[in-house]
Symmetry: C3
Subunit: 445 residues, 3 copies
């Protein structure tokens, strides 16, 4: 049974609940681009799918960048003059500017204020801030809390360690018939933010689970890594093998209530671009196809001009366009099981297209073959042909070795699955064969 | 005088009446894809234009198909228990499923019913049904008549013969200066259906009459043949010469009140596609240009991927989109003289473009030539130039050997006839010559 | 400082007044395609910018044309039977059909009338008429004046001379680093018509003044010449050097209140076409981009198929579409200082783009370079990047040697000046270098 059909046969509600449960499990961990938080996260993923860990030491040069010191944190707080914790890292890991250097001091409110970050427009929410490459420290709190601070001395403590260590990322490689690869990449470095990117981690993990259970043409490589520096590190260490990547997708922001947004690869007309556009057009519900731009998630790196890989990005709401983005309001209520499940379904539909998007040659290219004698046509005249026969005629007419099934689906306006089913039947009937050059298998090394 | 101008000078009303009269003459004949009915039809066409008949014997293999047995029918009826003909082939040849095998039996209503075809949504109309490739028999009647049938026994009789014989088609070949061909193809296999396709037969015949009376650049080949199997047979027997076909048109459904529909060839940008689009844009009245699709009339065969000929299809209402399609309501009232005449006019306009669509070289390509000294410009400054001079400027500017007159008409938004007239004047003035490669004449063999 | 920035720093109001003052200075001169009027005009331009005069004798063959006799005029009038000048050339040089042959006679009103030209729809305006290539004479007057003429005899006098002489045009050549040229062409042959084309003359002269004061990459060639015959003559005498013209612009009708219209070159996608479209899109205010057509100003000659130069035409209202066109209402009130200054600004913006439209190579094409360590990025995470950083990311991502800065501006929707500024900073940082093939300098000979 095809991967999409198999997926459709499962209980969608339960799929959604599983995805949300996994996001819930990962939510409390204080992740960053290095350190124990991201390692614990990757370990939880490892319980579900086979993954290989890579540790890259601090100081390693990766293209124009250097792997930073490893950051870890045990505790952090602000105490008022009564010794009461008025801000407590144990309540929310967003309270500390991610990558803050250690500090322990008693300072005045005036001295403290430059180290406080809030969102005046959303006075109850805590912002998410980082300072990876500039050594500093800071606290994030609600604007209302900051306004209520009285003059006086405050004990500030960030019990963090910034020291030589490792950057850790994980790969789940699922070999297929061909060594040609589909890359799925997600960032795993954000702390307690649900949509950005526990949603991506949960969907990618579930997708790998589905693929691990079945045979597939492509080899699939799932990357769970810290944003930016992780993708750069991986590319730096895998420069010679990226030529195997036939299609790729960055997954992020897949749990909110917004319509799908697919940002095209820099190539703009890669197979993944055409396939995702086809799927979104066929699905019900709002969606938008965005042209490539160089700002965003790790497609920035995969689509840098030296690589220019066919990697797009699938999201629901676009980063920065919704108020919950990078705040404490991006919590477990902001992502919904049904939305996560529908996102996973879209990914499965993409893989269904990629796996089955072949190019055929019509063996009877001169005039139509007589479908009737093969029981592939209606028996009597006078009644219009049905959509199945129409799909067969399209596949036969366009299978000249130049049109893929996805091309035919787009030309005809018929769904890829119907076109693919027609091709299967025509192959069985001996009317169609794989075109020269279709699926020349690169042997897995 | 140009073919279009000459046509425009004739009495349009009379043209329409002649077309309708010919359709009326052909209407009663019981045609099928083989047999005496189609032969009688081709004989009537032969009285008007020179045609050559081809008989292809039953059993001949034509690509993936086999020429079927020849079908003929003398009579058919259903009698009730009183011996009264309650259904009579002599009243309408649609009453018998076309290609029915012979039958003569007395059966119960329950046994009869699976052999009856009606249109419940149009209870007064008789449907048109065929069963060419599955041996069976049946009757078509109005739904109301079927509902009125009483229980009891019925004598059913179809006095038909299905036996080895011939498939017959006709060609009208009108040699031109060049052996390059324009193909006009119409199906001649439908019984008493006026729009589908007596309209096409009448228009094609009249077009051939017009062309037979004059010199022309292209050779014209008119095919009158049974749908599908006829086109496949012709292609099978003429495989080596189809390379001569520069442009082609399938004609069908040209008498109803709908706007024109032109379905593009599979190539999509063939000269005939651009020419027909230009003509329909220039004409008053609604029209639509349809992308190629593999379902339809014999363009299916001409545009199969092995041939991929530049053959489009001109219709008014599209098959299957109007209720009268393939029913007894597609009768002589459904097609009107004025509509037939306007369809013929469109075909003549197409031929006018194809015959005159040449590519020229401006002999004064550096700056504008001085039109004034040749009396091709206005004499005084200060008054805007007229459309004739504008057309001349367009032809001069674009005649670089790369733009045909049709290209120039499209670029400028000026009608082809104005552009062509401008080119004629500029040629006379010695400012323009045929470009290298224009109209390299393939000698007629 | 860039040419546009420098221009923006100047007092726009004063610029507009200077432009209008120069138009006012030129207004009274009776210009034609030859003769003292155009020579006096070119002398006035010479007072402002370095120009070289060319005299081409009557009878010289220039492509398909012949340089006409030189026309000069001292006086002209119509006197009524009382000897009163009822029409006086000294009041408006539009009163005489330009290029009228001399006449001195007393004739009846009936004999006079075929020599009178008016505009019935605008009964108070005097039309502008010429008769360069057909020897005749005539007067132009308001329709109301003509209606008031009484029967009787009239003394008509045109004291003109049509004799062998010269056609005179002027070039301002401003050599740049490269011998590659930008051509700016304006017609200088119309008499007292302000928008058509004292506006073009004033703007072109001011643009040359600006360029003469600074270094520039391209060499600039400004042509001030009689329309049609002047451009043809210049092309005829400079046939071998036109290959140096990389971009060009015809300037006309730049003082009226209409929105800008840019008519594309025949090539349609030349750098000047893309640059002008970008500038007009970035500017506030209405504009329209027109496809090339062979009727218009001297782009007709530059874009004739033998030359096909990348020369467009910038206007405000399009000739022939406003009632004042070629009438006495195209006077000094019809053109406004602010509109002239905005037109000059558009030309300066074009030159700013052309001068700076380079193609770069990203020296760190694999992944993004780390902008932060170069102080080219925001320091802390969590806040969206600003437009300056976004421009840098676009330049880095697209600088693969195939996209010019103008291409990147169009892809990103960011203004050329922001993209260009980003490229400058990235070059300074050593992240970007000129691509192979960028600005290969043709040495000025």
């Amino acid at each position: 049974m095809g991967i999409l059909k198999e997926f459709e046969s499962r209980d969608r509600e339960r799929i959604g609940e599983d995805l949300h449960r996994f996001a819930t499990e990962l939510y409390p961990i204080c992740r960053s681009i290095t350190g124990d938080g991201i390692r614990q996260t990757l370990e939880r993923i490892h319980r579900r799918i086979p993954i290989q860990f890579s540790d890259v030491p601090t100081g390693m040069e990766v293209f124009d960048w250097t792997v930073p010191k490893e950051w870890n944190i045990s505790d952090a707080y602000i105490k008022d003059s009564n010794g009461t914790r008025i801000l407590d890292f144990q309540c929310s890991n967003l309270h500390v500017v991610n990558y803050s250097i250690p500090v322990h001091a008693t300072i005045s409110l005036a001295e403290l204020k430059p180290h406080l970050f809030t969102i005046p427009e959303r006075p109850d929410w805590i912002p998410y801030r980082t300072s990876y490459y500039k050594e500093t420290w800071g606290f994030c709190m609600s604007h209302n809390q900051m306004l209520a601070l009285q003059d006086g001395d405050y004990e500030v403590c960030i019990d963090s360690r910034l020291a030589d260590g490792n950057l850790t990322y994980a790969e789940c490689y699922l070999p297929g018939v061909s060594a040609d690869e589909v890359l799925i990449s997600t960032h795993a470095c954000h702390p307690s933010l649900a949509n950005d990117n526990l949603s991506g981690l949960a969907v990618a993990t579930a997708l790998a689970e589905i693929l691990a259970e079945r045979e597939h043409h492509y080899s699939y490589r799932f990357l769970f890594l810290p944003g930016t520096i992780g993708a750069i590190t991986w590319l730096s260490r895998n420069r010679d093998m990226v030529g195997r990547i036939r299609n790729g997708l960055v997954l992020t922001g897949l749990g909110d209530a917004g319509g799908f947004h697919y940002k095209k690869s820099r190539q703009g007309n890669a197979e993944v671009d055409k396939a995702m556009a086809h799927i979104l057009r066929q699905q019900n519900g709002p969606f938008d196809i965005l042209e490539f731009s160089p700002y965003g998630y790790d497609e920035r790196q995969y689509c840098s001009p030296g690589f220019n890989l066919p990697v797009g990005c699938l999201m629901r709401s676009v980063w920065g366009t919704f108020p919950e983005y990078h705040t404490s309001a991006d919590n477990l209520d902001f992502i919904r099981p049904a939305q996560l499940a529908a996102s996973l379904r879209t990914c499965v539909a993409l893989i269904d297209v990629l796996e089955n998007n072949r190019t055929y040659q019509n063996l009877n290219p001169f005039c139509e073959p007589q479908l009737g004698k093969r029981n592939l046509y209606r028996s009597g005249g006078g009644v219009a042909i049905g959509p199945e026969i129409n799909a067969r005629l399209w596949v036969l007419n366009c299978s000249d070795g130049k049109h893929s099934l996805l091309d035919i689906a787009e030309l005809s306006g018929i769904s890829f699955s119907s076109i693919s089913a027609a091709a299967d039947i025509l192959c069985e009937s001996g009317l169609l064969v794989a075109a020269a050059g279709d699926r020349v298998v690169t042997k897995a090394s």
